[in-house]
């Protein structure tokens, strides 16, 4: 086999191994190790590259973002700020058509601005918002669709762990990705709100947030609201504000955010020594699993470079004079297909290392490509057969005793309008790259 064919075979083998459920890091390392050894006919060389990857790929200042933003997210959860952001959003949007749904989207958007991991948000919003929507006569599918769909905001609105992974494999700056994510994140939130508004309009049985509800959440208690809004506002201002103003690097923003969230959690007496230790251990697990994948992806990128596949693809596209738009459409289609059956991290790891060099050669801004990738990948996480976010919604509903009313199929169908809305947003960003490059 020629090196090029080895590259293609490696690509196929990687997809297969990941589908088979092998650890993503092991799949990447195995394919790259065997691939390099066969191309160069030198097993010792392949081993040396493994050793080098282990010692080089991990020692990066920018990787500091991973534990810091993960720690911040856990602290924000522990401090009960997720619940706060939902209640605040409900106060703002409860009386709009489809109000509880709107509040779920806005609450998710706010919460996403202080956390980088969105699974926690899915569990929390399923617990809080779904029963409330059902009580108010929302159709089941809309109620669960809103929650599963708005989980997409988590990866797009900074901080975001998936963006760290993308930035590292494409060698773009994490800070640039974070800056780019905000405007598309707001557009996506708006698209979701319009979707709910339209769908809710077809179900006149839905009640808006009532007086009773507002009393339940302490309407009129202005001090209570201030106590809820202030910590979140301060954190967002510190972290996002600090980054956009150019005061902090992404790593510094992470440290400030993590420390700030810890102080708020302590202030609210939400931490025991035991829970604090558990949060730290969980942070370690998430960090280790992410960095393990990033380091393995670095090895895979070396393998692809040795095979010459990306540069061949660039040449092939150049000789056929394909436009950036057509390549982008093909890329989006591939990511969508991969995303329906894989989780977001695997999809990024398979699609990005091959296409990023191609886009770079065509003169496209990799930050723009990254934002398109984030939204497209996230569409995958709410589509069958393996969209993860509907699974989480389902298992949370089961735990609440609502499982008999709503099937996994209902959740997928309910999330469909949101997937469509997200696809429209992808189209907008493809057409107007400026939307993603606003702060650059």
């Amino acid at each position: 086999m020629s090196p090029l064919e080895m590259g293609l075979a490696g690509f196929a083998a990687l997809t297969l191994l990941i589908y088979l459920g092998m650890h993503i890091s092991t799949s990447l390392l195995l394919v790259s190790f065997v691939g390099i050894a066969l191309i160069r006919d030198n097993w010792a060389l392949a081993g040396q590259m493994l050793g080098q990857t282990a010692t080089d790929a991990v020692t990066e200042y920018e990787f500091g973002t991973a534990p810091l933003f993960v720690l911040m997210g856990f602290m924000v959860m522990a401090a009960g700020m997720g619940r706060d952001s939902y209640i605040v959003a409900e106060r703002m949007f409860g009386r709009v058509r489809g109000g509880v749904g709107q509040a779920t989207v806005v609450g998710n958007a706010i919460f996403s601005a202080v956390t980088g991991v969105s699974i926690a948000a899915v569990v929390m919003f399923t617990r809080m918002a779904v029963p409330e929507m059902l009580r108010r006569g929302y159709p089941e599918r809309l109620a669960v669709g809103v929650v599963a769909g708005s989980a997409m905001l988590g990866m797009l609105i900074p901080p975001s762990v998936l963006m760290i992974i993308y930035a590292v494999i494409t060698e773009t700056s994490i800070g640039d990705m974070y800056n780019a994510g905000l405007v598309p994140g707001l557009i996506l939130s708006l698209a979701f709100m319009v979707t709910i508004w339209v769908v809710a309009g077809r179900h006149p049985g839905i009640q808006r947030a009532s007086e009773a509800l507002r009393r339940e959440h302490g309407d009129g208690d202005r001090m209570g609201m201030v106590k809820m809004v202030l910590p979140i506002a301060v954190l967002i201002a510190l972290v996002l504000g600090g980054m956009y103003a150019g005061l902090f690097t992404a790593t510094e923003a992470g440290a400030v955010g993590a420390a700030g969230a810890t102080v708020i959690a302590l202030w609210r007496r939400a931490l025991t020594p035991r829970s604090f230790w558990h949060i730290l251990i969980d942070t370690g697990y998430v960090t280790a699993s992410i960095v393990l994948i990033i380091a393995s992806a670095a090895m895979f990128t070396r393998f692809l470079a040795i095979s010459g596949l990306p540069s061949y693809m660039s040449q092939w596209i150049a000789t056929h004079q394909y436009t950036l738009l057509s390549v982008m459409l093909v890329y989006i289609a591939i990511v969508l297909v991969l995303g329906t059956a894989l989780d977001s991290v695997s999809t990024v790891l398979i699609a990005v290392p091959v296409f990023a060099p191609v886009f770079k050669d065509m003169g496209a801004d990799l930050v723009w490509v990254g934002i398109i990738t984030m939204i497209t990948v996230e569409i995958g996480i709410i589509t069958p057969p393996l969209g993860i976010s509907p699974f989480i919604v389902k298992s949370t509903l089961d735990a609440q005793g609502l499982g008999h009313r709503i099937s996994l199929r209902d959740i997928y169908l309910g999330a469909l309008p949101f997937a469509a809305a997200a696809l429209v947003v992808v189209g907008l960003i493809v057409a107007w790259p400026g939307l993603a490059l606003w702060f650059k």
């Binding site: 990941i18 088979l20 459920g21 092998m22 650890h23 993503i24 890091s25 092991t26 390392l29 195995l30 190790f33 081993g47 040396q48 493994l50 050793g51 282990a54 010692t55 991990v58 020692t59 990066e60 200042y61 990787f63 500091g64 991973a66 534990p67 810091l68 720690l71 991991v117 969105s118 699974i119 988590g154 762990v161 998936l162 992974i165 902090f248 790593t251 510094e252 440290a255 993590a258 420390a259 730290l280 251990i281 942070t283 370690g284 697990y285 998430v286 960090t287 280790a288 699993s289 992410i290 960095v291 393990l292 989780d343 977001s344 991290v345 695997s346 057969p385 993860i388 989480i392 298992s395």
Partner: protein, 181 residues
């Protein structure tokens, strides 16, 4: 003490150490930010200290992350298989873990010469007169982490194989814990 128990204690100890370093990273970056912002005195070597600590944290955490079943995989097929045959599911996992053991063993084998070179050459991170730190202690942790990771993978591969033989599950993992997105 059995070897499996010994390994368990070792990974827990490594985990605790790595966990403390997460706080260290936060402290270092904060000191730098506050020092620079309020007193115009940044902390020299912040970038190097963070970079080195990240490597140490993750290599110390790898084995316990694996033991906790938190290494990321797309487990759609495994779950599907598990509903039909626990034995097939556990044996597939045993094969996956065996490959993990082999790869980390190879990695450890090839980190060792780099460690020896780093120690003999006195290579360092950073720039002299500003901040520098020798590479070999970090490489030693990386070597150690890879070696323990290989052992942990091996122990788990055997565990999955035996559990499959007895038609039971070796560990139960909450799927929500395995996902980053």
């Amino acid at each position: 003490m059995s070897p499996a128990r010994l390994l368990d204690g070792l990974t827990r100890g490594m985990n605790a150490l790595g966990t403390c370093l997460v706080l260290f990273i936060m402290g270092v970056v904060l000191t730098d930010v506050v020092g620079r912002g309020l007193f115009s005195r940044p902390l020299t070597g912040t970038a190097e200290m963070v970079a080195m600590s990240i490597a140490v944290v993750v290599f110390l955490q790898f084995p316990s992350t694996l033991a906790a079943g938190r290494v990321i995989a797309a487990d759609g097929l495994v779950g599907w298989l598990g509903q039909r045959s626990v034995r097939a599911e556990q044996w597939l996992l045993a094969v996956h873990h065996a490959f993990g053991a082999a790869l980390f063993a190879v990695t450890a084998r090839y980190v060792w010469p780099l460690l020896v070179i780093a120690r003999d050459s006195g290579d360092y991170y950073g720039t002299p007169a500003m901040f520098s730190f020798p590479k070999w202690p970090i490489f030693a942790v990386i070597f150690f982490g890879c070696a323990v990771m290989a052992l942990q993978y091996l122990v788990m591969a055997v565990g999955f194989a035996r559990a499959g033989w007895q038609r039971r599950r070796f560990i139960e993992v909450d799927p929500a814990n395995k996902v980053v997105s």
